[in-house]
Symmetry: none
């Protein structure tokens, strides 16, 4: 019971186990070998399960945790669980909390620190993007766009920059684009000519812009093939869409760099152009 185990990472724990392996008694050595070989079982199982799989009585498992300086099995299990959560996409909640805490410090308030924060934020959102977008979806999306006569773009509020960017690139590539921006009237009027021979790319993140949520179902009902870029399967532009790109983003709208969706629409546009040859 000589090791402070409070804030221990999984790798540190592995090292600690390996280090004192030979100093442990027979049963405890057996358990040490098992937990190093089956960290997932330890992370997700109960004491009884781990005990059975490693062939020892439950109490031995608890003694093992004690020998490592933990208050009990549950405490040790927490460390093994960090390994699991580290494997999946970094949680935005944690990152947001980190941002908030850094904002408090004087150093974090300096513009240079703010920039490096957004840069690293953008980096990880790009990693997440390439992991979460599948080739099948991209192929389907470009197929829809390739068949479209006119391409309608719907992205208002915070998503407007993405829509304008996609509009710019598509027009550069010679596509006919209608950007639904609501200038000079309602977006309903702008989208009135959309038919089943056209296509719609809708972009919307929380909180979903009301006009987007209203117009999207109308166009879908008219048979316009739709591609949606959003942050949740529950967003109003998911139902009826032929293709849905779900992109994780920051919960706070003002903190979104839009890096991931910008890259995605770019890839869609260029991929469309290359496939057309």
């Amino acid at each position: 019971m000589n090791k402070a185990s409070g804030a221990m990472s999984y790798d540190e724990l592995r090292g600690a186990i390996a280090q004192r392996h030979r100093a442990l008694s027979g049963r405890l050595q057996q358990i040490a070998e098992f937990v190093l070989d089956h960290p997932t079982d330890v992370a997700l199982g109960t004491v009884a399960e781990v005990a059975q799989r490693s062939g020892v009585p439950p109490s031995a498992i608890v003694r093992f945790a004690h020998a490592l300086g933990f208050g009990g099995f549950t405490e040790m299990q927490q460390v093994f669980r960090t390994r699991l959560v580290a494997g999946v996409a970094p949680s935005y909640k944690a990152r947001l909390a980190r941002m908030k805490s850094e904002e408090k410090s004087v150093l974090g308030r300096q513009p240079a620190a703010v920039l490096s924060r957004f840069v690293s934020e953008a980096q990880s959102s790009l990693v997440t993007l390439s992991q979460s977008v599948h080739a099948r979806e991209l192929d389907a999306a470009t197929a829809i766009l390739a068949k479209a006569r006119d391409i309608y773009l719907l992205g208002l509020g915070g998503s407007f920059p993405v829509a304008t960017h996609l509009a710019y690139v598509l027009r550069k590539l010679g596509r006919r684009v209608v950007l639904l921006d609501g200038t000079g009237g309602s977006i309903h009027e702008q989208s009135h000519a959309a038919t089943v021979d056209d296509a719609l790319v809708a972009i919307s993140f929380r909180n979903y812009y009301p006009d987007t949520a209203r117009l999207f179902p109308e166009l879908v009902a008219r048979g316009v093939p739709a591609i949606s870029i959003t942050d949740s399967l529950l967003s109003p532009i998911v139902e009826g869409a032929r293709v849905v790109f779900e992109i994780q983003d920051m919960p706070e709208p003002a903190l979104r760099t839009l890096v991931a969706p910008m890259c995605l629409v770019q890839a869609m546009a260029i991929g469309l152009d290359l496939a057309a040859d």
Copy 2:
């Protein structure tokens, strides 16, 4: 209770939740949104924890699981746990296989390859950004913006998305913003009210949009403090600018993801807000 839930994958479950979301009652919808946004919490937490974090009573969580066809929370949780183990298991063999498949797709022009190409482009442009932007410039920029009564944004053509994004964030933070977009007349008229007490953020990349090149010197001549974001010191918006951010980008306009300038303007806006407190 009409869905066989025994051998269900995480993605299938997500789809099922999204599909019957609107058919659920209020509380259950609230839970649906939470579990889609916080799958890790569901995978690792207890009923009480999930209930507290999602702001519902524990019994509602169990009812939610029942509504999805599971025998109880524990049964549903198993599906969420598969997501965690799937994320960590692919060690070397799977990762190698993934790399191989990516290489293969690079050979073709498949959209997925295009995306990964843009992602890596964006990654490196972010690295370059954090290296090339210095704290002194950022400080100077935020100082100018802090003193400004109205902030005029000038970014046309391919830079328009950056300008709209900056406009969105600044307005969210309560700043007075004039976006020079030329709708309903000339940008000259829109910028007519700009004085020495205001500020101008100009964004322009090759080939420099003619209107930008024309308007920028006029505003500078009128004494409006200017911040420029561009790709060359020879660009038309460098001379007369108080601060210049030079950002390397792709030579071909259609291939720019705008990732770096998006991050930069975001950092400027948030940095301004934090410094103002």
